[in-house]
């Protein structure tokens, strides 16, 4: 039976570590970078920032006078630390809806997406 020498073990371990580090680092390098904004806490509530920004572009076309800082303040107040899903169903119950590209969205979600679009420049 063939045995693996200590030197080979060290080589293999080192190579694996380099591959893992390279993979993670590569993903970090490839990931889209966003400049920090004062409303990153809100954008972080959606699972895919790029998708949110794509939706947000269509929402911005529907919403007049969109001022991100002021919107962020009112959204935080509306969400009030609750799970996002609760805020969204409350939006629907109260008839607070917004359209984006024809999609009927809970207003809170649509506006967070609009913030994501603003953040994406």
């Amino acid at each position: 039976m063939k045995t693996v020498s200590r030197r080979q073990t060290i080589w293999l371990g080192g190579a694996a570590a380099v591959l893992v580090a390279g993979g993670v680092g590569g993903r970090m390098l490839l990931r889209k970078r966003y400049a920090p904004t004062p409303y990153d806490d809100l954008i972080a509530l959606v699972h895919d920032r790029d998708a949110a920004a794509q939706i947000g572009e269509t929402v911005l076309a529907e919403v007049e006078d969109f001022e991100p800082i002021a919107r962020a303040v009112s959204l935080r107040s509306r969400i009030a630390g609750r799970p996002l899903a609760v805020a969204l169903t409350e939006d629907a119950a109260k008839g607070r809806l917004v359209e984006g590209g024809g999609w009927v969205l809970p207003e809170t979600l649509g506006l967070i997406c609009a913030l994501a679009a603003k953040a994406a420049g």
Binding site: D48, T89, A92, A93, L97, G102, L105
Partner: protein, 499 residues
């Protein structure tokens, strides 16, 4: 035994006598003839065509149109025994009570009768349509084995039901001519004249009584029918034409002293692919996607604005149907994934379906039929339709769709995309129900309509109209079963009125 008579064999100059003359052998005319069968009344039914399609006869329907996109006047009707039931889809649904009400936000609304006045006639009307037991909004109780209605949260849109005429050869519902020809022949005091075109209502000099109907055949025969009562059952376009063209005594046309004949023409716009329905949990129950047969009825579910929602939000009736599957673009995929995730719902098996609809339109006096100087093969003046659709009709239907989207989100089961916004977009998607209505609307006051609550033409004592041309407003229900209920009510009235 009753008789089927080829009018082309009737000598010119003949006078046929009857108690009741029915003009038109479609569902209304046939139902009326059969409903009068158990009376002592001698009935004549005059049908323009024969037993099957004939191109020359069909061409008598030709006319012109201007305005909003619409089908040609000869395209959506059929001129032979059975009338337009010969290409009927078989969809049935009674109108709602609110459809009969005067609504201050809906101009020209309000029937001179209520839904309750018609209710007792729906069982027989349904029987004529061969649509089985009436279930409609009780259908959820018998379809549990097929699936569950959408668990929409509280709100304006609810699952309601269509029923269907019995299918033949898998697709074709009741063709009234073919189906009831045998029954008509069994009625001893009924004569059915085929190939008999009524070209003029001959009034007395004061214009208050129809003395005779002039009948012509395409091969040149001319005779007349004298009856105690005449019932026009030739469809909303032809009835208006016959009234307007019968203008030798009353210059504006028979029954048209107040310039109401031919106005308020209506149909149900059917905007195809007007929205996308997303259900996060997968496919809707099969009864949303197609007809299901159970408990002796053929059923399909649709999504309808409730009567309360219609009143509260001042929207018109509509019937939303779930149609074929669609693919989403990148934005759609992002919207579904983002929304489902934010709602804490798994959308891995989400389904995407196109939505269709039958829409009600606002009554409009300027959506109307008028005579032109062009004449058909029988010398009758042809019609021109000025078609119009109010922008608010589309806007209000959009509001209804948005309510569906709201409820889907609140109940965390799905979402909606609205595909159409501009008038051009709506027009590009537009199909039609081919439900001609409104041209001889029912009214208590002769100034506001053409026929009274008993379907008698105002100020013409022996002239009646049977069919959806008498609908003052239109709802979103398919008209056939509703107009048959009106016809059965008219039959009762005629039996009482005529000695």
């Amino acid at each position: 035994m009753g008789a089927f008579i080829d009018a082309r064999t009737v000598p010119s100059g003949t006078t046929v006598h009857a108690d009741v003359a029915i003009v038109g052998g479609g569902p209304a005319g046939i139902t009326l003839a059969l409903a009068l069968a158990n009376s002592k009344l001698k009935v004549v039914l005059l049908e323009s065509g024969g037993m099957t399609f004939d191109a020359k006869t069909q061409s008598l329907y030709q006319g012109s149109k201007i305005g909003a996109p619409y089908v040609t006047l000869e395209a959506s009707r059929l001129r032979y025994l059975g009338g337009s039931s010969n290409h009927w889809g078989g969809w049935c649904r009674p109108l709602d009570a609110v459809d009969f009400e005067e609504r201050d936000w809906m101009p020209y609304s309000g029937w001179p009768i209520t839904k309750a006045d018609l209710d007792r006639h729906f069982v027989k009307a349904h029987e004529m349509c061969e649509a089985g037991t009436l279930y409609y909004d009780a259908a959820a109780k018998i379809t549990g084995g097929i699936g569950k209605p959408l668990a929409l949260g509280p709100g304006g849109i609810t699952t309601r039901w269509f029923q269907f005429s019995k299918m033949r050869s898998s697709v074709l519902p009741t063709h009234f001519g073919e189906r009831y020809a045998g029954d008509l022949k069994k009625v001893s005091r009924l004569s059915v004249y085929l190939w008999a075109n009524v070209t003029r209502l001959g009034l007395n000099p004061s214009g208050t009584y129809v003395r005779q109907l002039d009948v012509a055949t395409l091969d040149g025969r001319k005779f007349n029918v004298k009856a105690k009562a005449c019932v026009l059952a030739a469809g909303a376009i032809e009835v208006a034409r016959l009234l307007l063209a019968s203008n030798d005594i009353v210059k504006a046309g028979t029954g048209n002293a107040h310039d109401m004949v031919g106005r308020f023409f209506a149909d149900h716009p059917v905007p195809r692919d007007n929205a996308v329905l997303v259900l996060f949990g997968g496919e809707p129950a099969p009864f949303y996607l197609g007809n299901q047969t159970t408990h002796g009825a053929i059923l399909r579910a649709g999504l309808f604005p409730s009567e309360k929602f219609r009143r509260d939000h001042e929207v018109m009736a509509s019937s939303i149907t779930v149609e074929g599957k669609v693919e989403l673009d990148a934005l759609g995929k992002a919207a579904v994934a983002t929304t489902a995730n934010a709602l804490g719902v798994d959308a891995a098996n989400a389904s995407y379906h196109s939505l269709g609809c039958g829409m009600e339109v606002t009554p409009d006096p300027d959506r109307r039929l008028t005579l032109t100087d062009e004449r058909d093969a029988l010398g009758m003046r042809k019609l021109k339709l000025h078609m119009r659709i109010a922008s608010q009709d589309f806007d209000k239907y959009r509001l209804t769709l948005k309510e569906l989207g709201r409820q889907l989100i609140e109940s965390r089961i799905g979402m909606v995309k609205l595909n159409l916004r501009t008038r051009d977009e709506w027009y590009a998607s537009l199909d039609w129900g081919n439900h001609h209505m409104g041209t001889t609307r029912m009214s208590a006051d002769p100034k506001n309509g053409v026929v009274d609550a008993n379907l008698r033409v105002h100020n013409v004592v022996n002239l009646y109209v049977a069919g959806s041309s008498v609908f003052p407003t239109y709802g979103a229900a398919n008209p056939t079963v509703n107009l048959l209920a009106l016809v059965l009510r008219l039959a009762e009235h005629l039996k009482e009125e005529l000695p």
